[in-house]
Amino acid sequence: MKSKLAGNQDALAGLIFIALGAIGLLIALRYEFGSSTEMGPGYFPRVLSLLLVGFGGVILLRGLRSGVAVDGIWAWLPLALVTLSIILFGAAIERLGLVPAVALLIAVSAYAGHEFRPGEVAILTAVMAIFAAAVFVWGLSLPYPLFAWSF
């Protein structure tokens, strides 16, 4: 049953909605509810969270009954690499500077593709680094150091 659930499109979607709604509701319980006349900050979050759990429940039930499988394959590796490249960029731009951040992002994200050609990636990095510097640093005069080594 478990392996079936893992590929069940609607059941998974329903579970995610229920989980998000439940988390939302748990947090919202700490906010003051108020009354219909004077709605507290908790009024809307609670109503919406409950709605989300409800919709999630309907979708989950329907999924368990129909069992439509997820289309195609999950691109877990590309997803992980692309996400990692963005996070590395964020971490690098303040500590290492713009150019290293660009290089890291391009190299790691390019690895998510089907073909990784080091020569091409090097050229792409150079072009994009110059482009980013031209647009953001020289064009929009944003205060990003091109290289900065501060740990």
């Binding site: 499109q9 609607d10 998974l12 979607a13 995610i16 909605f17 998000l20 947090i27 919202a28 906010y31 003051e32 009354s35 219909s36 006349t37 709605m39 507290g40 900050p41 809307f44 979050p45 919406l48 969270s49 989300l52 919709f55 999630g56 979708i59 997820v70 289309d71 195609g72 394959i73 999950w74 691109a75 590309p78 997803l79 692309v82 996400t83 490249s85 963005i86 996070i87 960029f89 964020g90 971490a91 731009i93 303040e94 660009v102 992002l105 391009i106 994200s109 390019a110 998510a112 593709g113 089907h114 073909e115 050609r117 091409e120 990636v121 792409l124 994009m128 980013a132 953001f136 944003l142």
Partner: protein, 500 residues
Amino acid sequence: MEFLDNLALGFGVALSLQNLAYCFLGVLLGTLIGVLPGVGPLVTISMLLPITYGLSPVSSVIMLAGIYYGAQYGGSTTAILVNLPGETSSAVTCLDGYQMARKGRAGVALAIAALSSFVAGCIGTALIVGLGVPLAGWALRFGAEDYFALMLLGLVAASVLTHGDLMKALAMVVLGLLVGLVGTDVNSGAERYTFGLPELADGIGFTVLAVGIFAVSEVVSNLEQKERREIFTRNIGGLMPAWADIKASILPTLRGTAIGAFFGILPGTGPSISSFSAYMVEKRLARDPSRFGQGAIEGVASPEAANNAAAQTAFIPMLTLGIPGTATMALILGALVMNGVQPGPSVMTRSPELFWGVIASMFVGNAMLVALNLPLVGIWVRLLTIPYRWLFPAIILFCALGNYSLNNSAIDVYLCAAVGVLGYVFAKLKCPPAPLILGYVLGPMMEENVRRALLLSEGDLSIFVRSPISASLLVVSALLLVTMILPAIRRKKEQAYSEG
């Protein structure tokens, strides 16, 4: 002749050197990026959103609008030459456009697409001029309860008409509304869902959400499969359509425009449904329907006109009521809000130069598109040969850099990565992202209006049915939902009966 004065005012704004430049830049960037295979208007706009934040509200909307119809246009070039629609609204153009290309008539197909888009764009814009004032005048009489009902209708319509599963679309709307709550509550000053992070006190950034859910997740989705395309770069044929081609395209273009204009105004429908409907209508009307799918020129003219007309008239509810009908409009509305413009009917009276300037720029932009596209088609064709393995790291870079540059905050970049993961999972599970964005944009306004309405009525919920405007809007929303849910129930029942 009030509207002439308005137009004069608008053209005065749109034809300023600065705004001409932004309009041109928008149209150029939009076409450029829209032509690139696998990059549609949503990705293009979300990716380029941060660039426009430094501009004045007028210039930024002019540029975004230019990017929008430029990308829309670029999508049809890709559809015709590569048989790969940049977005769903160009999918229909593939059917006959690509067949024309295979028969050596790519140039004619491109020219007809450009011309019919131009005609439709101009008529669509003229409709905004005509309908904008009365609609905004009507909406100015809205009370808080009417506003709430209108937004609810917008959200319901968007979920009902979104391609795919109604329940999931509704769940995404609610999730979007919840995400919109993150930040400081205006009424009480309480922080909601901020997890103690000061960066979240102003809410989750609009670009963070848009870029993550549209651009990042789209890139990952594209990486699932190996790219393979068949491109016609050599044998495009003459650009000049024969008189017979033009004659065959006139009526389809006008019909497509009418269909597109209608669907564009309806919230939640937008270009995809309109281009599909326009195609079906032409096929119905054709003397020889079997030509469709074999390179019929009507099959290019009509859907292209329809999606461009819809792209223009979609601005009507967005600009006059502050209700975005499509995800793209939600993006542009979000940009307006970021620029400090309170959307709604008062935009027209409070900042007429914004309203009319943007509209006038649409005429200008559409003309630029024709001028830009036909002579330069050779360049666009060469762009098509850029492999995706070069494109997507650049797209990701733009997403990250754009988000970072808004607040110089790495948190935004991390959040965007997280939204991207969620966006990809949702895409795999067939949960549509557009309703989420609509919910996010409309959420805060809805909450404010409900609060105001109930404060005025002293907590009496009947205020929503006592106002005739609100009551009728609520009835329409309910009807929409019921008509969508009922057939599903009936089908289930029939199934049950046949099984039992």
